[in-house]
Symmetry: C2
Subunit: 135 residues, 2 copies
């Protein structure tokens, strides 16, 4: 880790953990975006469904209008989501996954599946931990 401006790995690093953990590394930046809690939900919801802004807002419980707007902007900028504006009144804006977004969807779905499959184990672990701490 000698050159902070590049994403280079020594062989030692490769052996040890295979990917760059430097903050300014592009992979890190994309991961931060993709692993965002709202982004995950948006991408998961847009699988096979074109949705309007209001539909997304309705389906994602707890998201604010502002966060949905910024999340969609980010995803659009990254080429994961397409935004189609219809010049009608009241306005209609459709959001859908791009082909690139669809490739990501598989991975995100596996994350969701993992969570569903292991939520009881996690609940048990949490209960055990809390018991240990308060004891």
């Amino acid at each position: 880790m000698n050159s902070p401006s590049r994403c280079e790995l020594t062989e030692e690093d490769y052996e040890a953990f295979q990917w760059d953990t430097r903050e300014d590394c592009e992979v890190r930046q994309i991961l931060d975006r993709v692993a965002d809690k709202w982004s995950l939900l948006v991408i998961a919801l847009l699988d096979r469904n074109t949705l309007r802004f209001t539909e997304l807002k309705y389906k994602i419980d707890g998201i604010s209008q502002r966060m949905l707007t910024t999340t969609l902007r980010h995803l659009e900028r990254d080429g994961l989501v397409s935004r189609t504006v219809y010049p009608v009144v009241p306005p209609r804006v459709d959001y859908a996954l791009t082909p690139l977004g669809m490739t990501l969807h598989k991975t995100i779905q596996s994350l969701v599946t993992w969570t569903e499959d292991h939520q009881s184990e996690i609940a048990v672990a949490r209960a055990r931990y809390d018991k240990r701490v308060t004891a």
Copy 2:
């Protein structure tokens, strides 16, 4: 979405997007934890490696001591990471993935791999978007 205190889905919801998006749903809570940017890095780094606190702090560029502490506490509570304290001076604390954490590692690694595989596409999309916006 009529009962805010339970994680129940109507058949319509299942057809439409397959998982609960309610904010108080346990899956959502676990996802928020697991999809955290620091958690991702910690889990990825702990693959096949037991690491000490300082090693993690050194390897994860940009993480503060407080965030590393809280992230590790969360992961420990969720049963994904084990914490071993050696009663020596100066203190020595080892962190490692639990079996449960190892099952998550595969998914996280696929997320990282996706990011690596598509970072150039994303860079292109971003450039195009920025050009369109500033134009």
